[in-house]
Protein backbone atom coordinates (compact mmCIF):
# COMPACT_ATOMS: atom_id res chain seq x y z
CA UNK A 1 0.00 0.00 0.00
CA UNK A 2 2.74 2.40 1.03
CA UNK A 3 4.75 1.37 -1.97
CA UNK A 4 1.78 2.02 -4.19
CA UNK A 5 1.31 5.47 -2.70
CA UNK A 6 4.90 6.36 -3.35
CA UNK A 7 4.67 5.21 -6.93
CA UNK A 8 1.50 7.21 -7.34
CA UNK A 9 3.04 10.31 -5.83
CA UNK A 10 5.98 9.83 -8.10
CA UNK A 11 3.75 9.41 -11.09
CA UNK A 12 1.80 12.55 -10.28
CA UNK A 13 5.00 14.43 -9.76
CA UNK A 14 6.39 13.32 -13.09
CA UNK A 15 3.10 14.06 -14.71
CA UNK A 16 2.99 17.55 -13.22
CA UNK A 17 6.36 18.36 -14.61
CA UNK A 18 5.45 16.87 -17.94
CA UNK A 19 2.18 18.80 -17.97
CA UNK A 20 3.99 22.04 -17.27
CA UNK A 21 6.33 21.38 -20.12
CA UNK A 22 3.39 20.58 -22.36
CA UNK A 23 1.51 23.68 -21.31
CA UNK A 24 4.52 25.82 -22.06
CA UNK A 25 4.97 24.32 -25.49
CA UNK A 26 4.08 26.90 -28.14
CA UNK A 27 0.85 26.36 -30.06
CA UNK A 28 -0.89 24.32 -27.40
CA UNK A 29 -2.08 27.45 -25.69
CA UNK A 30 -4.20 28.56 -28.61
CA UNK A 31 -7.14 26.28 -27.87
CA UNK A 32 -7.01 27.38 -24.26
CA UNK A 33 -7.67 31.00 -25.09
CA UNK A 34 -10.69 32.27 -23.13
CA UNK A 35 -12.35 33.75 -26.21
CA UNK A 36 -14.00 31.91 -29.03
CA UNK A 37 -13.28 31.63 -32.67
CA UNK A 38 -15.75 33.57 -34.83
CA UNK A 39 -15.27 31.40 -37.93
CA UNK A 40 -16.00 28.25 -35.97
CA UNK A 41 -18.85 30.16 -34.34
CA UNK A 42 -20.44 30.92 -37.69
CA UNK A 43 -20.49 27.25 -38.61
CA UNK A 44 -21.93 26.27 -35.25
CA UNK A 45 -24.59 29.01 -35.39
CA UNK A 46 -25.63 27.90 -38.87
CA UNK A 47 -25.63 24.17 -38.11
CA UNK A 48 -29.21 22.94 -37.83
CA UNK A 49 -28.27 20.46 -35.13
CA UNK A 50 -26.25 22.91 -33.04
CA UNK A 51 -27.09 26.62 -33.00
CA UNK A 52 -29.76 26.64 -35.67
CA UNK A 53 -30.05 30.35 -34.93
CA UNK A 54 -31.46 31.00 -38.41
CA UNK A 55 -34.59 29.04 -37.48
CA UNK A 56 -35.61 32.23 -35.69
CA UNK A 57 -33.21 35.01 -36.69
CA UNK A 58 -32.30 36.77 -39.91
CA UNK A 59 -28.54 36.19 -40.26
CA UNK A 60 -25.87 36.82 -42.89
CA UNK A 61 -25.63 34.31 -45.76
CA UNK A 62 -28.77 32.45 -44.74
CA UNK A 63 -31.58 31.78 -47.18
CA UNK A 64 -35.18 31.77 -45.89
CA UNK A 65 -34.46 32.35 -42.22
CA UNK A 66 -37.20 32.40 -39.59
CA UNK A 67 -38.48 35.55 -37.91
CA UNK A 68 -39.46 34.53 -34.40
CA UNK A 69 -36.60 36.56 -32.94
CA UNK A 70 -35.15 39.91 -34.12
CA UNK A 71 -32.53 40.05 -36.91
CA UNK A 72 -29.05 39.60 -35.47
CA UNK A 73 -27.29 42.75 -36.67
CA UNK A 74 -25.41 45.58 -35.01
CA UNK A 75 -24.86 43.43 -31.95
CA UNK A 76 -22.09 45.52 -30.40
CA UNK A 77 -24.35 48.53 -30.43
CA UNK A 78 -27.24 46.52 -28.99
CA UNK A 79 -25.02 44.83 -26.42
CA UNK A 80 -22.13 47.07 -25.34
CA UNK A 81 -21.61 44.56 -22.54
CA UNK A 82 -20.48 41.29 -24.09
CA UNK A 83 -21.35 39.35 -20.96
CA UNK A 84 -24.98 40.35 -21.41
CA UNK A 85 -24.91 38.99 -24.93
CA UNK A 86 -23.43 35.78 -23.62
CA UNK A 87 -26.14 35.60 -20.96
CA UNK A 88 -28.84 35.93 -23.64
CA UNK A 89 -27.43 32.95 -25.52
CA UNK A 90 -26.76 30.98 -22.33
CA UNK A 91 -30.37 31.24 -21.07
CA UNK A 92 -32.75 33.74 -22.64
CA UNK A 93 -35.49 33.01 -20.09
CA UNK A 94 -33.56 34.90 -17.41
CA UNK A 95 -34.12 38.22 -19.19
CA UNK A 96 -37.55 37.20 -20.53
CA UNK A 97 -39.33 34.30 -18.80
CA UNK A 98 -41.62 33.89 -21.82
CA UNK A 99 -38.75 33.71 -24.30
CA UNK A 100 -39.05 31.04 -26.96
CA UNK A 101 -35.29 31.00 -27.49
CA UNK A 102 -33.68 27.74 -26.32
CA UNK A 103 -31.23 27.99 -23.39
CA UNK A 104 -28.13 26.99 -25.34
CA UNK A 105 -25.77 27.06 -22.36
CA UNK A 106 -27.96 26.05 -19.46
CA UNK A 107 -29.31 22.99 -21.25
CA UNK A 108 -26.00 22.00 -22.78
CA UNK A 109 -27.23 22.40 -26.35
CA UNK A 110 -23.83 23.93 -27.03
CA UNK A 111 -20.62 23.20 -25.13
CA UNK A 112 -18.87 26.09 -23.39
CA UNK A 113 -16.36 26.25 -26.22
CA UNK A 114 -19.08 26.22 -28.88
CA UNK A 115 -20.96 28.92 -27.02
CA UNK A 116 -17.87 31.11 -26.84
CA UNK A 117 -17.31 30.59 -30.55
CA UNK A 118 -20.91 31.54 -31.34
CA UNK A 119 -20.67 34.54 -29.02
CA UNK A 120 -17.61 35.76 -30.88
CA UNK A 121 -19.40 35.38 -34.22
CA UNK A 122 -22.63 37.08 -33.10
CA UNK A 123 -20.60 39.86 -31.48
CA UNK A 124 -18.99 40.52 -34.87
CA UNK A 125 -22.35 41.05 -36.60
Amino acid sequence: MIALKTTLAGAVGTALIAACVLALAPGLNAADAPTGNPEAGKEIANDRKLGNCMACHVMPDIESPGNIGPPLIGMQARYPDKEKLRAQIWDATVANPDSSMPPFGKHGILTEQQLNDVLEYIWSL
Partner: protein
Protein backbone atom coordinates in the same frame (compact mmCIF):
# COMPACT_ATOMS: atom_id res chain seq x y z
CA UNK B 1 -78.04 26.92 -23.10
CA UNK B 2 -75.33 28.37 -25.32
CA UNK B 3 -76.27 31.83 -24.21
CA UNK B 4 -75.90 30.86 -20.61
CA UNK B 5 -72.46 29.43 -21.26
CA UNK B 6 -71.41 32.55 -23.11
CA UNK B 7 -72.75 34.77 -20.38
CA UNK B 8 -70.97 32.76 -17.72
CA UNK B 9 -67.79 32.88 -19.73
CA UNK B 10 -68.10 36.64 -20.13
CA UNK B 11 -68.81 37.07 -16.46
CA UNK B 12 -65.89 34.91 -15.47
CA UNK B 13 -63.64 36.90 -17.77
CA UNK B 14 -64.77 40.17 -16.26
CA UNK B 15 -64.15 38.80 -12.80
CA UNK B 16 -60.75 37.58 -13.92
CA UNK B 17 -60.03 41.09 -15.12
CA UNK B 18 -61.03 42.84 -11.94
CA UNK B 19 -59.04 40.41 -9.88
CA UNK B 20 -56.02 41.33 -11.90
CA UNK B 21 -55.42 37.96 -13.49
CA UNK B 22 -55.60 35.99 -10.25
CA UNK B 23 -56.33 32.56 -11.61
CA UNK B 24 -60.05 32.10 -11.69
CA UNK B 25 -59.41 29.58 -14.38
CA UNK B 26 -62.51 27.61 -15.16
CA UNK B 27 -62.49 25.64 -18.41
CA UNK B 28 -65.14 28.04 -19.74
CA UNK B 29 -62.96 31.04 -18.97
CA UNK B 30 -59.91 29.36 -20.54
CA UNK B 31 -61.88 28.60 -23.65
CA UNK B 32 -63.17 32.16 -23.96
CA UNK B 33 -59.64 33.54 -23.64
CA UNK B 34 -58.26 30.96 -26.06
CA UNK B 35 -60.76 31.66 -28.80
CA UNK B 36 -60.71 35.39 -28.37
CA UNK B 37 -56.89 35.46 -28.39
CA UNK B 38 -56.68 34.05 -31.92
CA UNK B 39 -59.51 36.14 -33.23
CA UNK B 40 -57.85 39.28 -31.90
CA UNK B 41 -54.53 38.23 -33.34
CA UNK B 42 -56.00 37.46 -36.77
CA UNK B 43 -58.94 39.85 -37.00
CA UNK B 44 -59.42 39.23 -40.71
CA UNK B 45 -59.85 35.48 -40.39
CA UNK B 46 -63.45 34.36 -39.89
CA UNK B 47 -63.64 32.11 -36.84
CA UNK B 48 -64.73 29.03 -38.77
CA UNK B 49 -61.79 29.35 -41.11
CA UNK B 50 -59.35 28.46 -38.34
CA UNK B 51 -60.21 24.81 -39.00
CA UNK B 52 -57.97 25.14 -42.05
CA UNK B 53 -54.83 25.50 -39.99
CA UNK B 54 -51.98 27.48 -41.42
CA UNK B 55 -53.94 28.03 -44.66
CA UNK B 56 -56.39 30.22 -42.75
CA UNK B 57 -53.63 32.76 -42.19
CA UNK B 58 -51.36 32.30 -45.18
CA UNK B 59 -52.94 33.18 -48.52
CA UNK B 60 -49.85 32.07 -50.45
CA UNK B 61 -49.81 28.43 -49.38
CA UNK B 62 -53.58 28.38 -49.32
CA UNK B 63 -53.70 28.43 -53.10
CA UNK B 64 -51.68 25.28 -53.58
CA UNK B 65 -53.55 23.63 -50.72
CA UNK B 66 -56.87 24.36 -52.40
CA UNK B 67 -55.52 22.76 -55.55
CA UNK B 68 -54.55 19.68 -53.54
CA UNK B 69 -57.99 19.49 -51.97
CA UNK B 70 -59.47 19.18 -55.49
CA UNK B 71 -58.05 15.67 -55.61
CA UNK B 72 -57.77 14.88 -51.94
CA UNK B 73 -54.84 12.63 -51.04
CA UNK B 74 -56.96 11.04 -48.30
CA UNK B 75 -59.67 9.72 -50.60
CA UNK B 76 -58.21 6.22 -50.74
CA UNK B 77 -58.08 6.12 -46.97
CA UNK B 78 -61.75 7.01 -46.72
CA UNK B 79 -62.77 4.17 -49.00
CA UNK B 80 -60.41 1.76 -47.25
CA UNK B 81 -62.00 2.80 -43.99
CA UNK B 82 -65.48 2.32 -45.36
CA UNK B 83 -64.53 -1.22 -46.32
CA UNK B 84 -63.29 -1.85 -42.80
CA UNK B 85 -66.50 -0.48 -41.38
CA UNK B 86 -68.58 -2.83 -43.48
CA UNK B 87 -66.45 -5.95 -43.21
CA UNK B 88 -67.54 -8.30 -40.42
CA UNK B 89 -65.00 -9.41 -37.82
CA UNK B 90 -64.17 -13.13 -37.60
CA UNK B 91 -67.03 -13.50 -35.12
CA UNK B 92 -69.52 -12.13 -37.64
CA UNK B 93 -70.09 -8.83 -35.86
CA UNK B 94 -69.10 -5.44 -37.26
CA UNK B 95 -68.04 -2.06 -35.94
CA UNK B 96 -71.68 -1.06 -36.05
CA UNK B 97 -72.36 -3.43 -33.18
CA UNK B 98 -70.04 -1.31 -31.05
CA UNK B 99 -71.15 2.02 -32.52
CA UNK B 100 -74.89 1.73 -33.25
CA UNK B 101 -75.07 5.41 -34.20
CA UNK B 102 -72.19 5.10 -36.64
CA UNK B 103 -70.51 5.96 -38.80
CA UNK B 104 -71.06 9.68 -38.05
CA UNK B 105 -69.89 9.52 -34.43
CA UNK B 106 -66.74 11.62 -34.29
CA UNK B 107 -68.43 14.60 -32.64
CA UNK B 108 -68.92 12.53 -29.50
CA UNK B 109 -65.17 12.15 -28.92
CA UNK B 110 -63.15 12.62 -26.85
CA UNK B 111 -65.41 12.24 -23.83
CA UNK B 112 -65.04 11.70 -20.11
CA UNK B 113 -66.00 8.19 -19.06
CA UNK B 114 -67.10 8.51 -15.48
CA UNK B 115 -67.20 4.80 -14.73
CA UNK B 116 -63.69 4.21 -15.93
CA UNK B 117 -62.40 7.57 -14.72
CA UNK B 118 -60.63 8.35 -17.98
CA UNK B 119 -60.79 10.21 -21.25
CA UNK B 120 -61.94 8.02 -24.13
CA UNK B 121 -60.83 8.98 -27.62
CA UNK B 122 -62.20 7.68 -30.91
CA UNK B 123 -59.07 5.62 -31.78
CA UNK B 124 -59.15 4.06 -28.33
CA UNK B 125 -62.84 3.18 -28.72
CA UNK B 126 -62.11 1.61 -32.10
CA UNK B 127 -59.44 -0.65 -30.67
CA UNK B 128 -61.57 -1.55 -27.68
CA UNK B 129 -64.32 -2.56 -30.09
CA UNK B 130 -61.88 -4.73 -32.01
CA UNK B 131 -60.56 -6.40 -28.90
CA UNK B 132 -64.05 -7.00 -27.54
CA UNK B 133 -64.67 -8.90 -30.77
CA UNK B 134 -61.51 -10.95 -30.70
CA UNK B 135 -59.56 -8.83 -33.21
CA UNK B 136 -56.05 -7.53 -32.60
CA UNK B 137 -55.67 -3.83 -31.84
CA UNK B 138 -54.47 -1.49 -34.59
CA UNK B 139 -51.30 0.54 -34.26
CA UNK B 140 -52.21 4.08 -33.26
CA UNK B 141 -50.09 6.32 -35.46
CA UNK B 142 -50.85 5.38 -39.08
CA UNK B 143 -52.09 2.68 -41.39
CA UNK B 144 -55.49 0.97 -40.91
CA UNK B 145 -56.36 3.09 -37.84
CA UNK B 146 -55.93 6.20 -39.99
CA UNK B 147 -58.15 4.60 -42.66
CA UNK B 148 -61.07 3.87 -40.41
CA UNK B 149 -60.68 7.21 -38.69
CA UNK B 150 -60.70 8.92 -42.09
CA UNK B 151 -64.01 7.27 -42.92
CA UNK B 152 -65.66 7.99 -39.58
CA UNK B 153 -64.45 11.58 -39.47
CA UNK B 154 -65.44 12.14 -43.09
CA UNK B 155 -68.93 10.91 -42.27
CA UNK B 156 -68.97 13.28 -39.29
CA UNK B 157 -67.98 16.39 -41.23
CA UNK B 158 -69.98 19.42 -40.18
CA UNK B 159 -70.66 18.20 -36.65
CA UNK B 160 -69.57 20.75 -34.10
CA UNK B 161 -66.83 20.20 -31.58
CA UNK B 162 -68.56 20.00 -28.23
CA UNK B 163 -66.43 18.41 -25.59
CA UNK B 164 -68.03 18.30 -22.18
CA UNK B 165 -66.36 18.42 -18.81
CA UNK B 166 -69.04 16.99 -16.55
CA UNK B 167 -69.34 19.07 -13.43
CA UNK B 168 -70.51 16.19 -11.30
CA UNK B 169 -67.12 14.50 -11.48
CA UNK B 170 -64.07 16.40 -10.21
CA UNK B 171 -61.84 13.83 -11.89
CA UNK B 172 -62.99 15.09 -15.28
CA UNK B 173 -61.81 18.57 -14.39
CA UNK B 174 -58.58 17.08 -13.15
CA UNK B 175 -57.98 15.38 -16.51
CA UNK B 176 -58.66 18.69 -18.23
CA UNK B 177 -56.23 20.48 -15.90
CA UNK B 178 -53.57 17.89 -16.60
CA UNK B 179 -53.99 18.33 -20.33
CA UNK B 180 -53.78 22.07 -19.90
CA UNK B 181 -50.64 21.85 -17.78
CA UNK B 182 -49.11 19.62 -20.46
CA UNK B 183 -49.87 22.17 -23.13
CA UNK B 184 -48.27 25.09 -21.34
CA UNK B 185 -45.31 23.28 -19.78
CA UNK B 186 -41.92 23.72 -21.35
CA UNK B 187 -40.20 20.45 -22.07
CA UNK B 188 -37.26 18.91 -23.86
CA UNK B 189 -33.71 20.13 -24.16
CA UNK B 190 -34.91 22.97 -26.39
CA UNK B 191 -37.29 24.08 -23.64
CA UNK B 192 -40.49 24.74 -25.60
CA UNK B 193 -44.08 24.46 -24.53
CA UNK B 194 -46.68 23.78 -27.19
CA UNK B 195 -47.75 27.36 -26.53
CA UNK B 196 -44.33 28.82 -27.38
CA UNK B 197 -44.93 27.84 -30.99
CA UNK B 198 -48.69 27.70 -31.48
CA UNK B 199 -49.89 30.44 -29.11
CA UNK B 200 -46.98 32.85 -28.92
CA UNK B 201 -45.81 32.59 -32.52
CA UNK B 202 -48.57 31.61 -34.95
CA UNK B 203 -48.00 33.33 -38.27
CA UNK B 204 -44.27 33.62 -37.59
CA UNK B 205 -41.67 31.66 -39.44
CA UNK B 206 -39.76 28.84 -37.79
CA UNK B 207 -37.17 28.69 -40.54
CA UNK B 208 -39.42 28.17 -43.54
CA UNK B 209 -42.48 26.81 -41.70
CA UNK B 210 -45.28 29.21 -40.88
CA UNK B 211 -46.52 28.23 -37.44
CA UNK B 212 -50.24 27.54 -37.32
CA UNK B 213 -52.61 28.93 -34.70
CA UNK B 214 -53.83 26.28 -32.28
CA UNK B 215 -57.42 27.38 -32.72
CA UNK B 216 -58.72 24.64 -34.98
CA UNK B 217 -55.86 22.24 -34.23
CA UNK B 218 -58.03 19.17 -33.65
CA UNK B 219 -60.84 19.52 -36.19
CA UNK B 220 -59.26 17.96 -39.28
CA UNK B 221 -57.45 14.86 -38.04
CA UNK B 222 -56.40 12.36 -39.20
CA UNK B 223 -54.31 14.28 -41.64
CA UNK B 224 -52.47 13.55 -44.85
CA UNK B 225 -49.09 15.26 -44.61
CA UNK B 226 -46.95 15.56 -47.68
CA UNK B 227 -43.97 15.36 -45.35
CA UNK B 228 -45.18 11.96 -44.10
CA UNK B 229 -46.40 10.93 -47.54
CA UNK B 230 -49.32 9.28 -45.75
CA UNK B 231 -52.08 9.82 -43.25
CA UNK B 232 -51.33 10.10 -39.55
CA UNK B 233 -53.28 10.52 -36.35
CA UNK B 234 -53.45 13.39 -33.89
CA UNK B 235 -51.30 11.58 -31.37
CA UNK B 236 -48.69 10.97 -34.03
CA UNK B 237 -48.57 14.72 -34.45
CA UNK B 238 -48.28 15.25 -30.68
CA UNK B 239 -45.42 12.80 -30.68
CA UNK B 240 -43.66 14.62 -33.52
CA UNK B 241 -44.08 18.02 -31.88
CA UNK B 242 -42.58 16.61 -28.66
CA UNK B 243 -39.63 15.04 -30.45
CA UNK B 244 -38.67 18.17 -32.34
CA UNK B 245 -38.03 19.99 -29.06
CA UNK B 246 -35.93 17.01 -27.94
CA UNK B 247 -38.41 15.76 -25.38
CA UNK B 248 -39.11 12.07 -25.11
CA UNK B 249 -42.52 11.54 -26.69
CA UNK B 250 -45.24 9.90 -24.62
CA UNK B 251 -47.13 6.75 -25.41
CA UNK B 252 -49.75 7.33 -28.10
CA UNK B 253 -53.20 6.94 -26.54
CA UNK B 254 -51.55 6.91 -23.11
CA UNK B 255 -53.01 9.02 -20.34
CA UNK B 256 -50.89 12.11 -21.04
CA UNK B 257 -51.86 12.46 -24.70
CA UNK B 258 -55.51 11.59 -24.06
CA UNK B 259 -55.71 14.33 -21.45
CA UNK B 260 -53.93 16.67 -23.83
CA UNK B 261 -56.45 15.83 -26.53
CA UNK B 262 -59.28 16.44 -24.05
CA UNK B 263 -57.99 19.91 -23.22
CA UNK B 264 -57.04 20.83 -26.77
CA UNK B 265 -60.35 19.67 -28.24
CA UNK B 266 -62.32 21.47 -25.55
CA UNK B 267 -60.56 24.67 -26.60
CA UNK B 268 -62.10 24.23 -30.08
CA UNK B 269 -65.71 23.87 -28.94
CA UNK B 270 -68.08 25.27 -31.50
CA UNK B 271 -65.80 24.68 -34.49
CA UNK B 272 -67.03 22.25 -37.17
CA UNK B 273 -65.26 18.95 -37.80
CA UNK B 274 -63.59 18.81 -41.22
CA UNK B 275 -61.47 15.71 -41.18
CA UNK B 276 -59.66 14.12 -42.77
CA UNK B 277 -57.39 16.98 -43.77
CA UNK B 278 -54.36 17.67 -45.92
CA UNK B 279 -51.33 19.61 -44.79
CA UNK B 280 -47.77 20.27 -45.75
Amino acid sequence: MNKIIMLTAALVMVLGLTWGGVALATPQADQAIWQSYYQKRFPNVPKEDFINGVYAIDPVSRESWEAIEEFPPYEMAISQGEKMWNTPFANGKTYRDCFPNGPAIAGKYPYWDKERGMVVTLPLAINECREANGEGPLKYKKGPIADILSYLRYQSRGQLTKVEIPEDDPKALEAYEKGKQFYFARRGQLNFSCANCHVQNPGNLLRSDILSPALGHTTHFPVYRSKWGEIGTLHRRFSGCNKQVRAKPFKVQGEEYRNLEYFLTYMQNGLPLNGPGARK
